[in-house]
Symmetry: C2
Subunit: 205 residues, 2 copies
DNA sequence: GTCTATATTTGGATAGAC
DNA sequence: GTCTATCCAAATATAGAC
């Protein structure tokens, strides 16, 4: 008996329609803002009446959930994995990726990394991507010889600051994106210099 | 004829009621989020029916406008004005003030510095506070001998990054607030070192 | 100035025919 | 699976009596 994989044409069509709905949903939130997703408009866009959407998604939140999962998958699949030879370059690479990923789609950034949808909590997957990413940051930092426990917090602040300014004040441009390498060098210089100081010299607070 | 200032008791009462409404509006957005301001609930809180609010404000946007003006006034009145002797301390002071001001009231931060209310544009006053503040940043930076044109952008990215992380991941705490002084020293070290390098050494992009 | 009553729009979600 | 019809809730805003 030949091993022909069973194709379920009905399931395939259903998955295709789901994908089509999600694509339209992304287009809508990019155009009108993340919170302005309307099931009526969404249905019209894909040539349906609003109630028909419920054959594909249980609720509006379920659509956000699916969009979140898509965005999270895009993030982990695009994240640079292999550490380059220069450890400093490894840090730059992470920030370039993160800021670039966020700046490429503001709505996706808000959905994944900010909490702006009232009542929407992406549960486990949220921690998965952010903790996985934070772990990688820690590893690459250790490769640079940076062990200060505050270093990761300062590093993430730099990354989100560049992202926030880029999206808020120069969307579509590169005014803060082109500062990334300098910012990471600044961070690296400071942390490596600080590590050489005896702990007693650091002032108490 | 004695110079007794004319008191308009009616105008006083009206102003007091307006202030009462605004206080209730702030309480509501702090509790439910900036975008969740409901005129019905707001009216109930101050013991009115919803339509009565229109005797005090022309529209919901007018309430946001008044809230914006209040927040902007709070910002400029609390902003540190006199430059301390140590120029580096001057920079730290600015960031401490900005992050502290934002962290003290997340809803106010969103209204003043992020654009999250659809269709709400605070017009002239918005530029007034941010440009006035940016000007002060430039002055204090010059006092440190920092003249790099990118310095202000990098500095603001650090400030907003600390703010964003503090509000997003440790609201009410001080996990990023206590990194402010270190972050400013990091920035200062880097910019002063960079200034001593001959411009030719800086890589082209 | 404040109320009741209402207009109008828009939203998410459900019932049931086909 | 898709539709029509409908429900229900909430929103801003207006008209007009008192």
């Amino acid at each position: 008996m030949l091993d022909i994989p069973k194709r379920d044409r009905r399931a395939e069509r259903r998955a295709a329609t789901r994908a089509e709905i999600l694509d339209a949903a992304w287009a809508q939130v990019r155009a009108n803002g993340l919170a302005a997703l309307s099931l009526r408009d969404l249905a019209r866009t894909v040539g349906m009446q609003a109630p028909s959407l419920y054959s594909y998604f249980d609720s509006k939140h379920a659509i956000y959930d699916a969009m979140y999962a898509q965005g999270a998958r895009q993030f982990v699949e695009a994240e640079p994995s292999d550490q380059p030879g220069d450890p400093l370059e490894g840090l730059k690479q992470l920030v370039r990726f993160y800021v670039g990923f966020c700046a490429a789609d503001a709505a996706r950034y808000l959905l994944l990394f900010q909490r702006t949808i009232p009542g929407f909590e992406p549960s486990a997957e949220s921690f998965a991507i952010s903790e996985g990413s934070l772990e990688r940051v820690g590893q690459r930092m250790a490769a640079c010889g940076i062990t200060d426990p505050d270093a990761v917090d300062l590093f993430t602040a730099i990354g989100t600051g560049l992202t926030d300014q880029q999206l808020s004040n120069d969307p579509g441009g590169d005014r803060w994106i082109r500062l990334i390498d300098d910012a990471v060098e600044m961070f690296h210089d400071y942390m490596t210099k600080k590590a050489k100081q005896p702990p007693a010299r650091r002032r108490a607070r």
